[in-house]
Symmetry: C2
Subunit: 66 residues, 2 copies
C-alpha cells in the first residue's frame, strides 16, 4: 500500500475513528475514504489533501526510497 494510504489508515485508527466518522468529520465521501485507504492510486489530489489536513499534513514530494 502507498504511504499516504497507510498514513491515513493508521492515523484514523489512532484517533479512534471509523471510516464513516472520519468521512463525516473530514467532509469526504465514505466511499472515497475507503478507496483511499485501500491504496487506490487514481484519486484526486485535493481530496487526498483534505484527508491529510485532518492530521495537519499535506501531500509533498518525498524520495521514493527511504
Amino acid at each position: 500500500m502507498n504511504t499516504i494510504a497507510a498514513f491515513i489508515k493508521n492515523k484514523r485508527k489512532e484517533a479512534g475513528l471509523t471510516q464513516e466518522e472520519f468521512a463525516i468529520r473530514s467532509g469526504l465521501g465514505l466511499r472515497f475514504v475507503r478507496e483511499l485507504e485501500q491504496g487506490k492510486e487514481t484519486v484526486r489530489m485535493d481530496k487526498v489533501n483534505q484527508a491529510l489536513a485532518m492530521f495537519g499534513m499535506q501531500a509533498v514530494p518525498g524520495r521514493m526510497d527511504e
Copy 2:
C-alpha cells in the same frame, strides 16, 4: 503555488526541459503538465506521482507548516 507544483516546475527547468519535452518523456499529457505546474489541485494523484517519479520522488505526507 503548492509545493508539488513548484517542485516539478523547478526540477524540469533545472533539467533544461520544456513542458512539451517533459510531457513526452514522462508519458503525461502536455495539458496535464501545464495544469499541474500551475497549481491545479484537482489533478489525479497517479499522474502527479508519474511526474514526480521523473525525479525519483513521489507524493508523501508532510507537515503543512515547515
